[in-house]
Every structure is written in C-alpha cells, then in structure tokens.
Symmetry: C2
DNA sequence: ACAGTAATCCTGACACTGTAAAGATGCCGA
DNA sequence: TCGGCATCTTTACAGTGTCAGGATTACTGT
C-alpha cells in the first residue's frame, strides 16, 4: 500500500485544491495556512517551499480563480444569439460565478491578501478585462460603456455574493434572470438608430 | 496632570475611534484587536467588556460606518436640482464614500466579520436601503430600477475602492464625474414619455 | 552503478493573535 | 461609610504565520 511517501508527488496542486476548499468553508478572512496544510495531510511548513508564504498561495489561487471566472463567462456566451445577447450573458455568467464560489469571487475582486503586482495575476486579470472590452467593442461602445457593463455586472454579483439583494432571492430563477437581463441591457450602448426606438423588442 | 486614571472615562468611543484608524491602516483582513487596544493605550483585554469579542467591535464599527455612509449620500443629495439629479448624486456619494474610506466600505459591504444578524446593524443597513428605495419611488420606478441603481452604484464604488477601474483614474475629476453621471442615468427609470426621446438634455 | 547535489518535506522555535478566567481598582448608591 | 458592581489588568492557553535547520528522497553526471 502507498504508505504516504515522503515526497508527495504533486503537492502544489494538492495544496491549491485544499486551499480552495479552505477558502470555500472559512472565507478569505478565516483562511488559515496551517489548516490548508492539515487538509493536504502535510506539515504546516510544507506550503512554504511551493508558494513562499500565505500571500503566495492566495495569489496562485487567485490566478486559478480568474481562469475559472473567465471559463464560466465563456460557457454562457457560447449560446449567444448575437453580440448584444453575448454581453448580457457575460453579465449573467459573472453572477453565476459569484453565487457558485462566493469566497473565490471575493478573493479575486475584493481582497487585499493576494499580491496584485504578481505578473501571473495581473496577466489573468487583464485577460478577463480585455475580454470585456472586446464585448463592448463588438457593439460599437466606448470606455463609458465598458464601465457601465462591468460595474453593473460586478455590482449585481458582489451584492448577491453577500446576500444583500434580498429582492432577488425571493423570485424564481426565471424571474431573476429576466430582471437582471433588463438591467444589463440598459448598460449596453444604444442599439443601431433605426431600431433604437422600438420599445422592448431589441431581441 | 491626567496620569492615566484606571478608568478611562469613555473607553467605548475611544476604542471605536482606534478601531477605525486600525481598519484604515491594515484593512479588514489585517485588523487586530490587540493592536486596537494598544492604540487606545489600554490592555489587550479591555475591549472585551465593551464589545465582547472582535466581531462585536467590528459590528459596532459597521453600524457607525453605515451612518457615515448615509451621511455622505445625504450631503450630496442636498444640492440636487430634481429627483433625477438626486438619484445620480446619491450614486456619486456612494463612490465618494468608497474612495474616502475604502476599508470601512469593505467592512460594511464585503466582509463576513461583522455580525449581520445584530439588530442595530440590520437597522442601519435597512435605513440605507429604504432611502434608496425612496429615491427610485420618487421617479416612479419599480424593483428592477432599485436593483439597477444600487448595483451600478455599488459596482463603480467597489471596483474603485479596489483600484480596479484604471480607466477612471487616468481622467480628471470633471471627466470622471461626467462619465459616471452618464452611466448612472442609464440605470434610472425612463423619464416621462414626452421627454424620453430628447437625446441628451433630460437635465 | 554510484556519489553528490538539489529538491522536497519535517521539526522546532519565536512572536503574534483572540479569548477566557481571575484578580485589581475605583465609582456609586444604600 | 461600606458593599456591590462596572471597569480594567494580569495571566494563561491554543492557534496562527514565518523562519532556521535538519531529514529524506529524487535527480544528475560520471
């Protein structure tokens, strides 16, 4: 039987997985490095070699978080009917991620614990941002439109992750999505002029 | 001379002030109760009597935070020209507070450390929410409009507090306010029908 | 095949943290 | 005045992050 070899084999990945579980249970503020090591069945100082310190581990976890975040958005955008619908779906994906992994969401967007000067992290974050810019560009939007879509998507997601939006929680899933869609649509750049006046059937 | 009497006099208020300073310097995640006690020039166990534990202190601080938050919004709304402008100014106040006290902002909106079941805290939070609902009601809006204004205001504020909106940081203050105003205006319920079509002069 | 080196992981230690228990101090009412 | 009580301190303990040094294993060149 494998009696726990001295060398783990892939401790780095195991620690990242343990860290994600720890994060999901305790949140960013209750995150403990020693507890992560215990989860991975390894000594409390083992993570140091792979990640340096706690900040290093959380930075690596944030990188992974950004990738999963983008994956969630991409998955939703797959089934888009046009560019406008695509942007709206991105916003819904934003919310989906925040609800599915609230702690990870907080880590990558509202925590000071990761090192945001680390090149891998800035790269991962920039990738997500560039993707957003692409969505708006496709609609002929400008900087203001980018801020509008991002801020609104982020606001809905962040408030939902913190259970602040009680109004939405009472509704059914269909009702919720409908409300959010209508909110997100307001943020998009105005449709082509010949259709801009048609009340609510831009889709 | 006052040679440090055994009884402080108003330690509760002094601790709250020290806690706010600690929060501003170290952030929610670096907040230390012992360090707060040291700031107030008192033993590390002194806060226990007034606030129970760290959560109690942070809860009390969050209550104060909500009050200041609302004060910031109110101040901005004072100089509003009409209900529409009032709602926009509220959003700008939201941002102002987040930039002036990012850590306090995080504490009341994105932290799991305060006890959100505490009646004083839920009361303070509800007051802010009710005020927002009032703003939307005055414009003839519904639940969706409340979410739209809140989420967008919150998104801009939260992203700005975390220095994520590099786009805005480059601009001048006037440019920034103009962009945000235009974003917030999209979230408001449509203006009265006879003015709805006028391109950009709803103000 | 084998020795040396580097990578990996562990043990032990230190300073710091939050919390609880028990003692010291001074205020205030009976 | 004096006892009770709120207030604050001291002491203690378990848990945390990080560092230094030692143990174990894998890998590399010969």
């Amino acid at each position: 039987m494998t009696e726990k070899p001295y060398h783990h084999g892939d401790l780095r990945a195991a620690l990242l997985a343990a860290a994600e579980a720890e994060l999901a249970e305790k949140g960013v503020e209750g995150f403990s490095l020693r507890s992560v090591a215990k989860r991975a069945g390894v000594s409390h100082a083992a993570p140091a070699h792979h990640f340096g310190d706690t900040q290093g581990l959380l930075t690596a976890l944030a990188v992974e978080g950004f990738i999963r975040f983008q994956d969630t958005l991409d998955a939703r955008e797959q089934s888009a009917t046009d560019d406008r619908d695509r942007a709206v779906r991105a916003g819904l994906g934003y919310l989906e991620f925040a609800l599915a992994r609230p702690a990870l969401f907080r880590l990558i967007f509202s925590s000071a614990r990761p090192d945001y000067t680390a090149p891998e992290l800035t790269a991962a974050a920039s990738r997500a941002y560039d993707h957003l810019v692409g969505l708006i560009r496709a609609l002929g939007g400008d900087e203001t439109d980018v801020i509008a879509l991002w801020a609104t998507s982020h606001g809905i997601a962040d408030l939902s992750a913190g259970n602040k939006l009680r109004t939405l929680q009472g509704k059914s899933l269909a009702e919720r999505e409908a409300m959010i869609r209508s909110v997100l649509l307001r943020c998009l750049p105005a449709a082509a002029p010949e259709f801009a006046r048609i009340p609510d059937r831009s889709l």
